[in-house]
Symmetry: C2
Subunit: 319 residues, 2 copies
Amino acid sequence: MTPRRLRQFLALIEHAHFGRAAKSLGVSQPALSKSIQLLESELGVTLFDRRTDGVVLTAFGQLLRDKSQRLLVAEEDLRRDITLLAGGDIGALKVALGPYPSVTSGYASIARLHARHPQIKVTAHVAGWREVAQQVATSAVDLGIAEISTLQGREEFTCELLGEHVGRLFCRPGHPLLAQKRSPTMAQTLDYPWVASRIPLRLVTHLLPATLGCAGTYDPLTGDFVPAIEIDVPMQIVKFVENSNALALGNLSTFEQEISAGTIVPLPAHDPALRTRYGFIYLKERSLPPAVEIYMQEVRAVEAEICQRERILARMGSK
Amino acid sequence: MTPRRLRQFLALIEHAHFGRAAKSLGVSQPALSKSIQLLESELGVTLFDRRTDGVVLTAFGQLLRDKSQRLLVAEEDLRRDITLLAGGDIGALKVALGPYPSVTSGYASIARLHARHPQIKVTAHVAGWREVAQQVATSAVDLGIAEISTLQGREEFTCELLGEHVGRLFCRPGHPLLAQKRSPTMAQTLDYPWVASRIPLRLVTHLLPATLGCAGTYDPLTGDFVPAIEIDVPMQIVKFVENSNALALGNLSTFEQEISAGTIVPLPAHDPALRTRYGFIYLKERSLPPAVEIYMQEVRAVEAEICQRERILARMGSK
DNA sequence: ATTTTCGATAACATAAAGGTTATGAGATGA
DNA sequence: TCATCTCATAACCTTTATGTTATCGAAAAT
């Protein structure tokens, strides 16, 4: 069951014809015949039904096809990873970060990654949840960090839960979502830009480069940061929400002063506690490059730190 | 980069010594030396630092170790799957189902699987969320269906989100959770058995064998069903909750009559909408046997059906 | 019936994989 | 300095993998 044989096997499936498959592989027909026979005898099953007008795959063949393709991809990926690493190229890493809280730990992790592995070039793209999923699906990025409901019914994705944040949404007093009678649904809130509140950023400010905004593209190698929504973090968020239809995410305590001053108001929600569960998402079929795995380790570490700090803050809050 | 060579490579790592590793593999030392050299030249990197007192792995070696182990496991799994299938054994399937709503689609899927593939032997174990995770982690089951927050911080798990249900918890009037001043936390509710309400079961009753309870072990091959909590589904749930500390999961409309009669009451919760996101969980490192993949397809199909029916019910309800 | 098409088989060639024993070369400690 | 330990190298052997060309036999089509 060598890679070579598996490739011959897959070629035969494609052409459904020994002669033509052999030709496409650049070998003679008897060579391919024997090769497939050896594969069959090794596994102890018949892989093809030989018909007079060609061959068709058996159930065993179908199983082998699906699995062997993955196996070959995994092997190629491994080869590629080692070759790149050997060339001194530890790898570029593209990640798509969803809104809060994904972006919070996502950015903090980039800063840590850059500190420890400056040779890894990171491109982070901040986007909406749906866009993150789309970018992962099209392989535009290696990895996404997004709210996991993004994944519903998408069997091509794998996810790893990172954390859970509970927060509320806040808006300006005259916001369109306040005009309607019913409490806004989650789907409706997604129609407006969300901005991360001070709380989640405060949790990681000791890790964040001061220049980092909450939305945009950051390359730690060059230091370039191109904000998608230009907000000075953390103080300008309230001003931004006050003067636009953007929604701020945070806790009641986060905006205690602003609420009593009436500058921003909490959004009524029939689901008042906004539980956000977010995690890594990536394609099931691909094996992740080493740079991505290193980055994931950093994210996990940051996440653990955030969890601990939140627990401390919660304890302080309840006293 | 044949399996054989990779195994030699792993053996050398283990012994950190050419002579001893060669002995453990049953070959001579020069044979192993040459084999490793070939592997190194094939990949174009040095895998071991040769020291006078043995060998130590380089960074490349470490990368290859991690990846090649997975590759070998995948290959072995494939071989095992085909061998089993060749022996007419399409495979036994062990699944752990968490409480509602996991168990709902889990059971319905078993019924469908049994109808289409009667030769697949299924063992379903219904358990609490934590136990599902534990059983998956220890490979006691191939697959789990559970609430995904089970996965937080567990990087050994892969998950695939299946669906999201919103419900509330109900209890008897004198329940301990009502005695405390604060609203019960999610963690506290987990201290009591949960039982599935009529709503989620009603959604799939056309798929369920009439005998199925909501908790227990069911083998569709023999038809044996051993309930863990004996409840006649669906009518006895209210009686059970009324006379125990069990919690029932459902919507307000589910228990409309009982609430007005005062027999059961909704549990106050600072997080009144109980959003349950559940999905498949399995070990990252393992490749799933074919029987499990077939089952997963059935679950996905049932899940899609449930989603559609819920949407219809919701629309009917809002009119 | 005859021809064509397709895969299997036979006979043979060659390169590569994998192994052996004997020996070499460098570091280390008695 | 010498014995000893490490892994590398050399020379050689055997088996297996992979290929070739020529031919065969069965089914389908003309």
